[in-house]
Symmetry: C2
Subunit: 260 residues, 2 copies
């Protein structure tokens, strides 16, 4: 690697969230840091992209090897715009977070934090999403920062396989017991809506719900690790093809003559 590593930092809680600044602070000795993040909260934005309105961004700060931008787009927009038009070279690492709230199990499909990591991975950048299972503003990010920093050092040194990104979740407890490499738990949200009323007494629906581990004894699943007091680290793939089902699907297509 020539010169200092370039590290792109983004999130889905917005540029003013505490988590992203805690993350940048713990990475500052590792290279040149650029924060390019949404101008406000974009939780649950998944891999959403903005195409019907144009994006703008602005420079907020530049000092001591840290440059901070904010952007009107989603987390994925931020990664795309930063990589395509703002950074002079491809980052050596993308870190997304620290998210205020856990992104274990199926949350990988809803999370803007992971949306950004997926986009980084698509762009060919070793990418890591970092989340703390706590929504409160005064959360303790110490364990998150320690693990995130060591993971960053390791990934800067060894890289990641093409098409694979990492999903790190850290439990919000005083004594995190360690970190476990995990698979994605088979989760499901239950009781997903709270019915309420607007000022005109019409029904409105607020998203809520709690994450349920459908197969709690699935070996090495991430919800289980977190429940047991460990941070979970799940390697995830961009290629979502179910290769194990392809041959059977070919049979099904043939047997049922699904053709033109």
């Amino acid at each position: 690697m020539k010169g200092k590593p370039l590290i792109l930092v983004t999130n889905d809680d917005g540029v003013n969230a505490r988590g992203i600044h805690e993350l940048a602070a713990c990475l500052e000795n590792l290279g040149e840091l650029v924060i390019f993040a949404p101008d406000g909260p974009r939780s649950g934005m998944s891999g959403a992209i903005t195409s019907r309105v144009p994006l703008t961004y602005s420079l907020l700060e530049r000092k001591n090897g840290l440059t901070v931008y904010m952007c009107t787009g989603t987390p994925v927009d931020c990664v795309k715009l930063a990589v395509n038009d703002i950074l002079g070279r491809k980052p050596d690492l993308l870190m997304s977070g620290i998210n205020h709230g856990g992104n274990m199990s199926i949350c990988v499909h809803y999370s803007g934090t992971l949306g950004a990591a997926i986009e980084g991975c698509i762009q060919g950048i070793p990418s890591i999403g970092v989340s703390l299972t706590d929504y409160t503003e005064d959360s303790t990010f110490d364990a998150c920062c320690l693990l995130g920093h060591r993971l960053a050092v390791s990934v800067l040194k060894d890289g990641l396989p093409k098409g694979t990104y990492l999903n790190l979740n850290v439990p919000n407890i005083r004594q995190v017991r360690g970190m476990q490499v995990c698979c994605q738990a088979e989760g499901r949200f239950i009781n997903e809506y709270m019915r309420s009323e607007n000022a005109d007494k019409e029904p409105v629906y607020w998203l809520t719900g709690s994450l349920y581990n459908i197969v709690p004894d699935l070996p090495e699943n991430d919800i289980l690790a977190l429940d047991n007091g460990y941070a979970s680290l799940v390697p995830c793939k961009i290629d979502v093809t179910d290769y194990g089902f392809m041959e059977q699907l070919k049979e099904m297509v043939k047997t049922n003559t699904i053709t033109l």
Copy 2:
């Protein structure tokens, strides 16, 4: 299966798009149909969910076994709300589309059409995303409808493996040559932004770009199939864990002492 199958139809182009009505029309002989779709375009919304504002929905039409609702949310919101609070029972099938525009390769990560199919799959419903590689309003949906219908019949009969959904893309050509079971091509968008100016002469960035097949000779990849005049059918997984990298990641974590 008891009684008529219940089929939930949604999309990301909105309840007024032609594609969703073409899809519903071709499925009408298969069971009880409920369209529950966004009230306007939600292209590129991926798996986004709405949590900061409440959702509302309204009934637009009910006749001849077809019920049509529109909702203020994203495609995923539509699926969640329909399944949680509107439909009396779990649908036997979810069809999302017909999308005006292709969703091959990495588009699975950006597409609201697929976001809805992923959500259906998470909810335990056999789910299929259907897309036509054409954005124009006067597209020909014939091949899409024929294949979508036959696929629906087959999936209603045989089901799909737990945690697997289908991504069908149909090329916009006069003579589609058939359908191929494919894997997800390794795609990348290039030239993703067009720089322009707003009325105040400030720079703004419009998302654009074209999809490039990085490994065109990857066997059975979906972009290749479409380029060759075939519809592509990719089985996709909810579980994105890179199982093949887990042991190596454990070694990496150990060697680099990434722990607390």
